[in-house]
Amino acid sequence: MSILAWTYIMVGLTFSIYLAIAWISRVKTTKGFYVAGGGVSPLANGMATAADWMSAASFISMAGMVSFMGYGGAIYLLGWTGGYVLLALLLAPYLRKFGKFTVPDFVGDRYYSNAARFVALICAIFVSLTYVAGQMRGVGIVFSRFLEVDVNTGVLIGMTIVFFYAALGGMKGITYTQVAQYVVLIIAYMIPAVAISMMITGVPLPQIGFGSEITSGPNTGRYVLEIIDALHRDLGFAEYTQAFGPGSKSMLDVFCITLALMVGTAGLPHVIIRFYTVPSVRGARISAGYALFFIALLYTTAPAVASFARYNMINTLHETPYAEAPSWVKNWEQTGLIAWVDKNGDGVIQYGPGAPFSGRPSFTGETGELGQRLLSNTPSDNANEVFIDRDIMVLANPEIANLPAWIIALVAAGGLASALSTASGLLIVVSSSISHDLYYRMINRQASEAQRLLVGRVMIGIAVLIAGYFGINPPGFVAQVVAFAFGLAASSFFPIIVLGIFDKRTNREGAIAGMVIGISFTFLYIIQVNFLGMAPWFMGISAEGIGAVGMLLNFIITIVVSRLTPPPPAEVQAMVDNIRFPRGAGSAYDH
C-alpha cells in the first residue's frame, strides 16, 4: 500500500478515536467544562499535560533546531522542561488547594481586586491566542505535506475537529483526547528514533546511542559526537558540542533565555489550569512528576535525533554526486524542504556554513540535466550549495532509516496529535477567561449554569475562528510571537502567583504595579528589538531572554510597593494560611 493510503488510514483512525472519546466524555456542568469535574487521575493528567505542552514545534521542529544549533539547542531542551520543577514545588499544590477554575480567579481573589483579575485575564487571552495561531498553522502544514491537500483545507479540517471535541466535552473532553494524543505522538516519535539509533550505533536507546560508537562505514569504532565535531571542523562550522565562541550566543544570553523559558513555562495559563483537574493536592504534586517524565521521554530523545540527523545529513550529502544521492533527498526536494543549487557546476553536492541563497527556495518549475529542481534565487557567494529546512530532521527520519510506509503515516498522525492537543488546551483557556472570569465573575454574577455553559461553548467557537483565521493568514512574525508568549507569562503571572503564596505581606497595590511594569517593560523591549529593529540594548540580552529581566523587575516592584502600602485584609491572609497545607482540598468548587 502507498504512503498516502496508509496516511489516510492512520489519520482517519486516530481522528475517529478522538471524536469517540469526546462523545463519551461530553459534559453538562461548568465544573466538568472548566476543570473536567476535578476527578482526573494524576497519571492521566500527567499524560494530558505532556500532550498539552508538546506542540507541533516540539514534535516537528525542535530536533531540527537542536541539530543546527548543537550545544545551543540546550536553551529549548532545558527551558521547556525545567519549568516543571518550579510548577511542582512552587505553584501546582497550592493552586490546587486554592481550588478555583482559572488563573485570573487566583489573582482576583488573592489580591481582592477586579482590576488585578482583569489584567490577568487580558494576559491569559493574549498569551494563549498568540500561541494557538501557530498550532493551527502546524495542523495545515502537516495535512499539506502528508495528505496532499491544500494548507488552508488542512486548517479548516483541524478547526472542525478541535471545535467538536472542545465545545462538547470542555476540559473533560480535552483531557481524555489529550491522553490518546500523547500515546499516538510518543509512539510516532520513538519508533523512528530507535530505528536510527540501531542503524548507526546498534544501541536501541537513542539517549545512550548518541554517546556511543558508530558500528558501520569508515568511521566504525569512533564516537558519534566526535565524528560530528570533526565533520564540522572540516566544513568550517564551529564544533557541534562547543558551548560558546564566535557566532554563538553569549553566556549571559543563554542564561537569560533558559530562565525566561523555564519561568514562562511555569506561568503559562494552559499549563497551570491542568493542575486544577486532579482530585487532591497530593495528586497535583505527583501529577507534575508524571507530566515531566512523559515530556522528558521526547525531550531527551530529540537531541539524539538531532545528532544522528546531523551525522546522516553531512555524510550523505557532502561531496556526493547529485545523481547518486539517496531517494529521500529527492523526495523531500519535491516538497521544497531541500533545494540544491550547483554553484560550481560539477554535479556534486557541496555543503558548508552560510545560506546557499537568501530566503526560502523559489523554484522555476524546470528541472536541470541531473533532474534537480532549478531555482530562481540568486546564489550567495559562499560555497554552500544546499538549502535544508530544519523540520526535515524529524520528517525524513523514517525514510532515512528505511522504515515501512505505515510508520511514515504514523509520524504524520503524531504531528497532528501534537498540534491538535496543544490547540485545544489553549482554546479552553481563552474560553474560560471570557466566559468565566469576564462574563460570570465581572459582568453577570446571576448567570445560570446553562447560560454559562452556552457562553463557554460559544467562546470556544469564536476562539477557533480567530485561531483559524491566523492559521490561514499567518502574521509574518510567527517565530517572534513565541518570545511574546513566554516573556509575558514569565514577567506577569509567575512572580505574583509565587509571592501570593509565599509572602503574605504582598498586597493588591504591589501585585498590580508589579504586573503592569513587568509586562510593559518586556512588551516594549520585544517590540523594540523584534519589530523596530533596535539593537538589544539591555546587556545584549535578546528578545527571547528579556522575560527573565521582566520577571526580576516584577518581583522587586511587587515586594517594594507592598511594603510601602497597607497589608492585605485579615481574610486574605487567612486564605494564604489555608492554601499552605493540603487537608480539606476537596474538589474545585464553584463560587
Binding site: A243, M251, D577
Partner: protein
Amino acid sequence: MTKDMSLYWKKNLTYMVILLAIWAAVSYGCSILFVEQLNAFQLGGFPLGFWFAQQGAIYVFVVLIFVYYVLMQKLDKEFDVNE
C-alpha cells in the same frame, strides 16, 4: 497559624530550597556557567558539560519532583495535614 503549622511550613521551605538549589546547579551551573570546564571530561562519547545540557539536567529535574512528592507525603502525615 498554630506553632505546629509554622514548623510544618518551615520544613516545607527547607525541602524546597534544597531541591531548587540542585535544580539551579544542574541547569545553570553544570549546563551553562561551567559547561566549558566540564567539557574537559568525557562520559562515554559525551563531553560531560554537553551531556548535562542535553540529557543529565532533564533526568535530574524528573527525579527532583518525585523526591519532593515523597518528602511531602511523609511531612503531611507527620503533621497530620494529609488528605
